[in-house]
């Protein structure tokens, strides 16, 4: 059986080798994302697949089965180093803890592009991501502008100590400092979970008779807070972050004020594009920090399109999309 498989595989391998030499395509790009549960990474993966397909390359997706598992991503790196893909597009599950993993990839001399969360160490050809701080700042500014710069505000935080949460909440707080008329009532953890955010909101409504604005560190928590408000027949302006399909629907129906989006689809596209360009000895942009988009009822249309039908930005667009 084994021998038979070997005979079958041999012509395939030769064909593959031949194509690579002849057309300089058919590269395999290993794409590492943090989990299968956050819709954001689904947009990253579809973006990466989309770009690879259009450039005649293929992707191999590596996702920890246990969300954001450090040991699991480390062993996936060990596996991939043995498998030797042409290049790697990498989101660390933890920006500090995965540095030894990145160093393993560097030692194996596999070109690697960093996307989404900036790794604390290791050598990368390029970084493609967005800035959680400006995401928090811009969404909170939009909320405060809508409220006329005043009102009682609560923050629902994500997982305490996670990089995304620290930066987003710092952005929220800095925007609040710009609006002296606004008062922060509480900043409580919802751990990025819908149910926990709903319960936190229910509890906060008991001790605060007037809440005008809710700043949630992701869309799931924003939607949880809206459910709690609806349940108590109260109204407040709520913002979330991630630009999920659910958030777009809520913006359309007027339940959610806005959601901050850091262009996961574009991150997947551009990360993969940079990987393939470097393999084909074409110029690469070493740093693309995408501007956050505050999705509101005025500009949601381009986000209301199924992922598979979206188109990747071109190399020329990449320069324009960058905030820096």
């Amino acid at each position: 059986m084994k021998r038979k498989l070997g005979y079958m595989a041999l012509p395939l391998l030769m064909a593959a080798a031949f194509t690579t030499q002849a057309h300089a395509d058919g590269e395999t790009i290993a794409v590492f994302t943090k989990n299968q549960t956050n819709p954001f990474f689904q947009t990253v993966r579809v973006g990466a697949d989309n770009m690879a397909k259009s450039l005649n390359a293929k992707t191999l997706q590596y996702i920890p089965t246990k969300p954001d598992s450090i040991p699991e991503q480390l062993s996936q790196i060990e596996d991939v180093v043995v498998k030797k893909p042409s290049a790697i597009v990498f989101t660390p599950v933890d920006y500090k803890a995965m540095v030894p993993g990145v160093e393993k990839i560097n030692e194996a001399k596999i070109p690697v592009i960093n996307i989404t969360d900036r790794s604390a160490g290791g050598k990368f050809l390029s970084f493609v991501g967005a800035d959680d701080y400006s995401l928090g700042l811009e969404t909170a500014r939009f909320l405060l502008k809508t409220l006329g710069g005043k009102g009682n505000i609560v923050i629902i935080e994500g997982v305490k100590g996670s990089l995304t949460n620290v930066d987003r909440v710092r952005g929220f707080n800095d925007a609040l400092k710009e609006a002296p008329g606004a008062k922060l009532l509480a900043s409580q953890p919802g751990n990025y979970q819908r149910l926990q955010a709903l319960q936190v909101m229910e509890n906060l409504m008991q001790s605060n008779s007037q809440i005008d604005g809710v700043l949630a560190a992701n869309d799931a928590m924003a939607v949880g807070a809206i459910e709690a408000l609806d349940g108590a027949n109260r109204k407040a302006q709520v913002i979330g972050i991630n630009g999920t399909k659910e958030a777009i629907d809520a913006i359309k129906s007027g339940k959610l004020l806005a959601s901050g989006d850091y262009n996961g689809f574009a991150q997947g596209c551009l990360g993969t594009m940079m990987a393939i360009r470097s393999l084909r000895s074409q110029p690469v942009i070493s740093e693309i920090v995408l501007k956050p988009t505050v999705i509101t009822k005025d500009n949601y249309q381009p986000f209301d399109v199924p992922l598979e039908q979206r188109t990747c930005p071109t190399f020329e667009d990449a320069g324009k999309l960058s905030a820096k």
Binding site: T65, P67, Q188, R194, L195, Q199, N203, Q206, S207, A220
Partner: protein, 325 residues
């Protein structure tokens, strides 16, 4: 062996047993927490907040009530949270596809029950320790749910269906009625039926239970199936209350449910504990979080305080138990 002789061997547990004393200590703890919170926060004792706490505790209780029976047999069901996630996602899809909440509810309960039954089969027929069997099941369920949902969320359910989790009847949230019903059924089943007594006997001494003619395997199968079905029920409440389902809801549900069972005084070694105790356990956990939110306790301290409460509760439990024995 007839039921009469079995009953003679195992007299119904009197209410002034060790379990009753344990429940008393827990009620005392819950009252103490309430008293402290009432002093510290004006809004704590408002009717709205009390209903809040009861509704929030109900979800944990539904999961933990079935789990209590499993723990009474000296087993553990680590897959309950993952079971809730899968059942919610499947029930949600059925409601979306067919437009029938009734069909969705039945599917959710059935999905939960089947998963529980499979756990039971692994524990009884294959004799895999429950900790391992249900831990394996946790991974299987996570895998299925992640694959099935592919990073998407389900949301938007009919208004009638939403009533189950978010609606009110005569001023009380509907989950609170369900809580009272299942608290009643659970307590009656465990304390007043032969099957319930047999479950205690299996937990206390499985060998003696088998020798005295209790069909141990069949009772264990029942216990795991009940635990799974209660997870299915919790999934329906979750869907209806949050109006959505996503693959990663399970992880945040399992440990609080286990904690509620343990804080409630059910021993991990089996044979000791009550469903009512579990209700108090769920209540204490909810009260602590509710109180911290009302008092605007910093996000950093919330997990720490919760952890200390769990440790304290189990330590006090062992201490008082030693004294009463």
């Amino acid at each position: 062996m007839t039921d009469i002789t079995k009953e003679a061997m195992m007299p119904p547990r009197s209410f002034l047993s060790q379990d009753a004393i344990q429940v008393f200590y827990r009620l005392l703890a819950a009252f103490l927490i309430c008293a402290v919170l009432a002093v510290l926060s004006d809004s704590f004792l408002s009717l709205g907040n009390i209903l809040n706490v009861l509704r929030q505790a109900s979800l944990t209780f539904f999961i933990a009530s079935g789990l209590t029976l499993v723990v009474l047999t000296a087993g553990l069901d680590l897959s309950v949270g993952a079971n809730v996630a899968l059942s919610a996602c499947i029930a949600g899809t059925v409601i979306h596809k067919t437009g029938s909440p009734a069909l969705g509810i039945l599917t959710g309960l059935a999905c939960g029950g089947v998963v529980g039954l499979l756990n039971g089969v692994m524990v009884t027929a294959l004799r895999i320790p429950s900790f391992i069997a249900t831990y394996g099941m946790l991974w299987v369920l996570n895998g299925l749910t992640y694959w099935y949902m592919a990073g998407e969320t389900l949301h938007g359910f009919p208004a009638g269906f939403r009533q189950i989790g978010s609606g009110y009847l005569f001023g009380l949230p509907i989950p609170v009625y369900l809580l009272l019903v299942f608290l009643g059924i659970g307590t009656f089943f465990a304390q007043r039926t032969i099957w319930g007594q047999e479950i205690y006997a299996i937990g206390a001494n499985p060998v003696a239970a088998r020798l005295s003619g209790i069909p141990v395997a069949r009772r264990l199968l029942l216990v795991y199936a009940v635990s799974g079905t209660m997870a299915g029920l919790a999934s329906i409440i979750f869907l209806s209350r949050l109006n959505s389902a996503e693959a990663d809801i399970g992880e945040s549900l399992t440990l609080p449910a286990i904690a509620a069972v343990l804080i409630g005084g059910t021993s991990l070694f089996g044979g000791v504990g009550t469903v009512f105790g579990t209700f108090i356990g769920a209540l204490i956990l909810t009260l602590v979080l509710n109180g911290m939110n009302l008092l605007s306790v910093s996000a950093n301290w919330q997990p720490l305080v919760t952890g200390v409460i769990v440790i304290l509760a189990v330590w006090l439990d062992m201490k008082t138990r030693r004294r009463t024995q």
